[in-house]
């Protein structure tokens, strides 16, 4: 099996190299058959990497511990779903996933554009296969997922319990889909620049892939945030950690790109900017992949230094140098077709939106790489914390929300006072009204949060106004009822109304972030049974007592769980009963661990308990005081060590089971104090709700429109008529 995987990976690498040569030779020599062969190489690559990935998946599902990667990331007791997903929890597996996704997306785009942009396509193929050859080369020469151990062990060390969360399992494929999809517009931009064909066709040809990249990367970031909030036991969803920032960077520049290409499509402007943005986004996607593997920055994720750093640095260097050289050498054809007529125009607002997004990306980039920058400049490695990021990102986010309200409705070229009055009177009223309504509730003490609420109300106001006007117009034209008119409106103008939905979702999301950050109450406290504590906003939590249980699977004890029962009340009325827990997993692959102690020496994870609502989340995590229990555990280890060999295997196992059971029961009976982290956080649900709306809007945008199909059919018909007319003319002559 390992040989098959290795063989498929090597063939994939060889096919990628062949494809690059064929595509470039075909383009330079004008031999179409070589380009066709290169295209087939892309399809073959997809088939080979699919095969290699399936081999790795099978190895995980069949517990093939002869493979080092399976031994170190799975075990017999790992549930099947997590076994399947464990493939990409390793360095090697994740690189194979990267290559597989890249080859699948490349095949799709090459197939869909096979009759378009024939001059650009060979170079785009060469770039896409260049990425494939790079990752294939890493898998063949540096970190193969098919390396085997000299002696296959009976069991593996298991998947880290922290990763046993559905969102954490889906998070990497989402992120990698985003990263690899950005390679598509990057490759076509390079091709378009090489052949000096910088009209909007390469943008149109890859627009859905750009949107797909943006959606996947966004979903990946959101799942990471959700996992952090629900699984990590600290109650936060964003920490400005380098690894989080690495995924945010291409998302920010990609968002800017998706806006600015509209200006190029509509008015032939910002060509240099768009080319630079997508080249930067593609490079940042590779930088993100590199950052989590290099170990060059201190991150909460202990990504160890590996041998992959230098190849990645070379690739990123080539991408930057090549991008700069291409843009500079093509500046004559990248010249804008129109000038900016007025600062009060849609194109000016889009440009401002781009500057804000790129400004945000610069802040995040600077903060992320500041340890390296400061070390290079001063000799001392220094790092920046969340307050520094907030100082810059919050005002920029305010500007972004404001622009998201102005941009979609202001007129192209030049807005007149009449246009401004017509479009902004009601939204401004909504923003001002929101401010006035919120001031009595004490929001004025947090001016940035208040500004965010007002700007979000303004942005939502413009969007609602656009929907209302559109529905009214359809009703007047067709006589449809309002719900049908609403749906038809979206269906017939997916790009426009999908965009509005995205903006609506962003406003909701930012309101959630502002409210949960500015008005959060965090309380860390140790409580004895029966004790109560104020946790903020008038809520009280009472520790009713400890809980304990043993989770077992068909293969034995999965984990010991120690928890607490908390009653939350407000104004003497019970609001919720929370049962936060902490699970202790047995240590795997540690033959010298004590018989009892091994059940406490493995990983432990919080199972938070939360009462979540649209208005407020009451979040709790517990750290049980196991010191008295661990003292007994030590004695138990000594007893079982002495009993080893004197008892039959069955008696030993029964005695051990009884001991574990009595330990967990005693914990619940003895009621030791426990430490709680209690958070009252308003409107966190708005973040998840807003994000869902954003991605719903993205899906609406990406869905093919009836108009597009109609245009294609019409264009096909027109071409046929033209051909027939062309044939008819000589006869007439």
């Amino acid at each position: 099996m390992a040989d098959l995987g290795r063989g498929l990976t090597f063939l994939a690498f060889a096919v990628a190299l062949y494809g690059i040569g064929a595509a470039l030779y075909g383009a330079i020599a004008g031999r179409r058959e070589w380009v066709t062969s290169a295209r087939r190489a892309v399809y073959t690559l997809a088939a080979l990497t699919t095969g290699a990935f399936l081999v790795l998946e099978l190895a995980f599902l069949r517990n093939d511990f002869s493979l080092a990667v399976v031994q170190s990331h799975s075990s017999i007791t790992t549930p099947t779903f997590y076994k399947a997903a464990a493939a990409w929890s390793s360095q090697e597996g994740s690189l194979l996933l990267w290559l597989w996704l890249l080859s699948v997306w490349s095949s799709l785009v090459i197939f869909l554009t096979r009759h378009r942009m024939r001059d650009v396509q060979p170079y785009a193929i060469a770039v896409l296969l260049g990425f494939a050859a790079f990752f294939g080369g890493l898998l063949v020469f540096a970190v193969s997922p098919f390396d085997t151990l000299p002696i296959a062990p009976q069991d593996g060390t298991g998947l880290n319990p922290l990763l046993r969360h559905p969102s954490m399992m889906i998070h990497p494929p989402m992120l990698y889909s985003g990263y690899t999809l950005w390679a598509v517009p990057f490759a076509f931009a390079v091709g378009a620049l090489i052949v000096r064909r910088v009209d909007a066709e390469w943008i149109a040809a890859t627009r859905r892939f750009s949107l797909g990249a943006w959606i996947f990367l966004g979903v990946g970031i959101l799942l990471g945030a959700r996992w952090s909030y629900a699984e990590l036991g600290w109650g936060g969803y964003w920490a400005w950690d380098p690894v989080e920032n690495a995924s945010l960077l291409p998302w920010l520049t990609g968002t800017a790109f998706l806006h600015s290409i509209m200006v190029q499509e509509k008015r032939g402007m910002l060509k240099t900017w768009n080319a630079s943005l997508i080249l930067a986004t593609g490079t940042l996607a590779i930088l993100g992949t590199f950052l989590v593997r290099s170990g060059i920055l201190d991150s909460i994720h202990a990504f160890g230094a590996s041998t992959l750093g230098i190849p990645f640095v070379i690739l990123i260097g080539v991408m930057i140098a090549g991008s700069v050289a291409l843009v500079v050498s093509r500046r004559d054809v990248l010249r804008t077709e129109h000038k900016l007529d007025s600062l009060l125009s849609r194109e000016a607002m889009f440009l401002a939106n781009n500057l804000v997004l790129v400004g945000m990306a610069f802040v995040v980039f600077w903060g992320t790489f500041f340890p390296l920058i400061s070390e290079a400049l001063t000799g001392n490695k220094q790092s920046l914390g969340p307050p520094w990021y907030d100082k810059y990102v919050v005002p920029l986010a305010l500007a972004l929300i404001l622009l998201s309200g102005i941009g979609p409705v202001i007129a192209w070229r030049r807005a007149t006072p009449k246009n401004a009055r017509r479009n902004f009177l009601w939204p401004i009223t909504a923003g001002v009204a929101t401010t006035i309504v919120l001031i009595p509730f004490g929001v004025a003490g947090r001016p940035l949060a208040l500004a965010m609420f007002a700007f979000a109300a303004f942005a939502v106001g413009t969007i609602v106004q656009e929907f209302v006007r559109g529905v009214r117009a359809r009703k007047a034209m067709t006589g449809e009822r309002a719900p049908l008119a609403f749906l038809t409106l979206i269906r017939r103008n997916r790009r426009r109304y999908g965009g509005y939905t995205v903006h609506f979702g962003m406003a909701v999301l930012f309101v959630g972030v502002a409210a949960s950050s500015a008005f959060q109450h965090v309380h860390t406290v140790q409580l004895k049974k029966g004790q109560s504590t104020e946790i903020g906003r008038g809520y009280t939590a009472r520790y009713d007592g400890p809980t304990s249980r043993i989770d077992v699977t068909s293969d034995g004890v999965e984990r010991l769980v120690f928890g607490a029962k908390l009653t939350v009340s407000k104004d003497d009325k019970k609001v919720a009963v929370l049962r936060p827990e902490r699970g202790y997993y047995p240590i795997e692959g540690a033959p010298f661990a004590g018989a009892v102690g091994r059940y406490f020496d493995g990983e432990s994870t919080s199972e938070i308990a939360m009462k979540a609502g649209l208005g407020l989340d009451i979040w709790s995590a517990v750290t049980p005081d196991l010191d008295p229990t661990l003292a007994i555990v030590k004695k138990g280890d000594t007893v079982f060590k002495q009993a080893s060999g004197k008892l039959s295997a069955q008696d030993y196992s029964t005695a051990l089971g009884t001991t574990i059971r009595s330990l967990t029961d005693n914990y619940a009976k003895s009621a030791p104090p426990a430490t709680f982290r209690l958070i009252v956080s308003p409107m966190v649900a708005w973040i998840w709700l807003g994000a869902l709306l954003v991605f719903l809007g993205g899906l609406i945008c990406i869905w093919p429109t009836a108009d597009l199909a109609h245009r294609r059919a019409t264009a096909g018909y027109a071409a046929r008529v033209a051909r027939e007319l062309g044939r008819a003319r000589p006869e007439r002559a």
Partner: protein
């Protein structure tokens, strides 16, 4: 005003604003940053009252818990030099002896006091250095 001149003025104003903002960003990043140090570097020199970002591994058997306060020692990643830490606040699930941690500290006498809720334990989950297990 001549449209070309107007555009030039706009460009100069925009570029000037960008330069001012970039300068502010650079300036504040140096003044707001904490110096990253290893335990041996802190032992060599640490000014009282100054904030440092300490990175290292929790020494085996050193963790003591008093209510919500933790006392433990952090050692160099690849060495034995260690410093005592007193920390109050939340700890991640992954916090335990032998784990790599990052904590913002200030020197108080011979002890380093951690800033509340600043302790992060590195996630041991992914892409760690290749294991020493022999592979074929």
């Amino acid at each position: 005003m001549d449209p070309a001149r107007k555009r030039r003025v706009r460009l100069v104003v925009a570029l000037s604003a960008a330069v001012v903002l970039a300068a502010a960003l650079v300036y504040t990043s140096f003044s707001a940053s904490s110096e990253a140090r290893s335990p041996s570097q802190l032992l060599a020199s640490a000014d009282p009252g100054r904030t440092y970002q300490l990175t290292g591994k929790v020494v085996n058997g050193s963790i003591e818990k008093h209510g919500t306060t933790y006392e433990f020692r952090v050692r160099d990643r690849d060495g034995t030099a260690s410093v005592p830490i007193r920390y109050t606040g939340s700890v991640a699930d992954t916090f335990r002896a032998g784990r790599e941690v990052i904590v913002t500290v200030k020197r108080q006498g011979t002890t380093f006091v951690g800033e509340k809720d600043s302790l992060v334990t590195k996630c041991p989950s992914k892409f760690q250095e290749q294991s020493k297990t022999q592979k074929t």
